[in-house]
Symmetry: C2
Subunit: 368 residues, 2 copies
């Protein structure tokens, strides 16, 4: 047997991991399919029927490489958002875009600031680049914007990550508050504003685009309200120089042909999007109601999920969650205290939520 | 306006680029569609009809995240190849897999060896990691295996890249010769054996898998013979420890749901694959014939393209190519001398090749 190849010191130090246990894996391991899929904040209502039509029409073209510039999709997105082509790049979901951005900015030892309990995949990309993560606790289930800015100044951070509305709690800050935060980002630091859930947020969360500002980049996705999590399409909006820098290292053919087609068709059916958003709102209200009927409190949600406060500590919430999973309800929960007193339930179909309503009292009573 | 974010020194040094000008971009720029698409070594015969059926059945599932472990596809691939699950990982085409592998091994200043004129996207990933590329000229239109090994020893290289069959010339080395090369890879160096075109190669190119060997990783794709270039699915086969290391930094959700479904369906239709391979063989022979009728020589091809020697220097071949492109024949050519005396024509449908047969004499006479 030959000697091992030589990994970088950084790669040698990293663990091999699968950051999220997929529901498919649990199903394979247990031999039982979930009855309701409420753990990954997917859009259970699915994509527009226009997407299926567009995909069917495009299947005969999949022998061709995808357009590395995603021209048609970027043209439609920039028209929809009122920004220029030079201000928008497309990538393999926000996950893929975060990976590229982190590699552009972060090398061994560079400081990065995020909230304690925020998106694990961002942290994974920071670790892969050798960055040093500094975390700021939530305050009252909201990301602590002042704390994030202070930490960035104190650590000379190159990146700050926030999501608005946020995951895993579902709260949001108004656009005015976010604009004020952006104005306070220290020079030489870039704020990553992850807006994965922006479509389901109230109108006062919608921040206008200011593309002269160099210290913020906004990321959005087709995975949530548009119902295309399987197709991995996200986009980043920012200053032209920053957006152009993605072309230094990105995988140019990384967004598949059918993914580009699906995203374009989804974008073009805003009527369906509005319909889905109203269904999500109905689902959120139903989740509040189910929780309240069980004597639990809820965190007001601007997203397609509701965090339900189980009223005790993380150990208790983990037991409740495990029991729900055992009953065939795929759900997840925040990873760190005190957020982990909650379980996080994605909006489901009425039938999904009936199943949850049936399972929750049993999960709670079993663990009393 | 705020100050610029702080890029890494490496990122600051890199150019923004689109490594390949897509035919779609040329079509947008000229306002005219190509009549024959023979430049990207796509499979013009398309994917199996089973792929269309599987995609149609899966469209209703695209609101779900893809399986990050690509379990079904990996199960089928490993059974087909006779390797264990731990020896195979799936990624966003060979492009995506090369990017991850380079990041695992290469940091600023590390030496990498490849052939002069070989795959540009590999070089792009090496540059993005700060690696130093050492190139070895082809010998008589074949990659110079001895020269690559010698260069790896001389430069203390961490990676050697070869493709077999090779791109852009279409030649191949027999499995015995490749096995002998693998045995001579220096300790601590990893040979990347890109087998993108292996399905169209003769049987004596088919190297058995030896998964105890740590200094080779083999990469294959659904983009060529399987006809799924648009869907971005590749796989890497190697020693378990090396394959597991991809889980340190890869984008786990990077291969879309429909891409996994399409690749699985394509793999399961080996009868169609055999049919396509026979069509590709017919097309290669037709390309030889067209070239010979025009007084040109051809490089024997083990791939789905033929390199045609235009008989003079690169400047002349570039003129011929430009004239073909002007006549609506999308083609490409090798980038460096002496390979660039050739133009590279992908196998097309009979109609595509009729168009090429009609255009080539004009391209040659115009440039006499």
């Amino acid at each position: 047997m030959s000697k091992s190849p030589r990994y970088t010191a950084l790669a040698s130090s990293l663990p091999s991991s699968i950051p999220f246990v997929a529901p498919e894996k649990t199903e394979r391991d247990t031999g039982a399919d979930f009855r309701a899929r409420l753990g990954a904040n997917e859009n259970v209502f699915g994509a527009s029927s226009k997407v299926a039509e567009a995909l069917t029409a495009a299947v005969s073209e999949i022998w061709k490489y995808p357009d590395p510039e995603a021209f048609d999709l970027r043209t439609a997105l920039t028209a929809h958002l009122g920004v220029a082509m030079e201000n928008l790049t497309v990538g393999g979901g926000i996950d893929g875009l975060l990976g590229v951005l982190v590699r552009l900015m972060i090398e061994q030892g560079d400081a990065v600031v995020t909230s304690l309990g925020a998106y694990p995949t961002f942290n994974y990309h920071v670790a892969a680049a050798g960055g040093v993560l500094h975390t700021v606790p939530f305050i009252g289930d909201y990301e602590d914007l002042d704390g994030l800015i202070s930490a960035a100044i104190a650590t000379n951070a190159k990146l700050i990550y926030i999501s608005n509305p946020d995951n895993p709690m579902g709260t949001y800050h108004s656009a005015d508050v976010i604009a004020d935060m952006i104005a306070r980002v220290p020079d030489g630091c870039l704020l990553i504003l992850d807006e994965a859930y922006i479509e389901t947020a109230p109108s006062d969360a919608q921040l206008p685009f200011d593309l002269n500002t160099q210290n913020v980049i906004r990321m959005r996705t087709f995975s949530k309200a548009y119902g295309l999590a399987g197709q991995r399409v996200g986009y980043a909006i920012g200053h032209a120089g920053l957006i152009q820098s993605f072309d230094k290292i990105r995988d140019h053919f990384g967004v598949s042909k059918l993914s580009q087609v699906a995203a374009l068709a989804a974008l073009q059916d805003q009527e369906y999007l509005a319909h889905v958003i109203s269904q999500i709102d109905v689902g959120r209200k139903r989740l509040y109601q189910i929780a309240h009927e069980n004597g639990l409190t809820t965190i007001p949600s601007a997203t397609n999920f509701v965090s339900i406060d189980c009223g005790r500590d993380g150990d208790y919430a983990r037991l409740v969650l495990a029991h729900l999973n055992d009953q065939g309800i795929f759900a997840r929960m925040p990873g760190v205290a005190p957020l982990d007193r909650c379980i996080r339930i994605s909006v489901g179909t009425p039938k999904d939520l009936d199943l949850f309503a049936e399972a929750l009292p049993m999960a709670l009573s079993t663990n009393l």
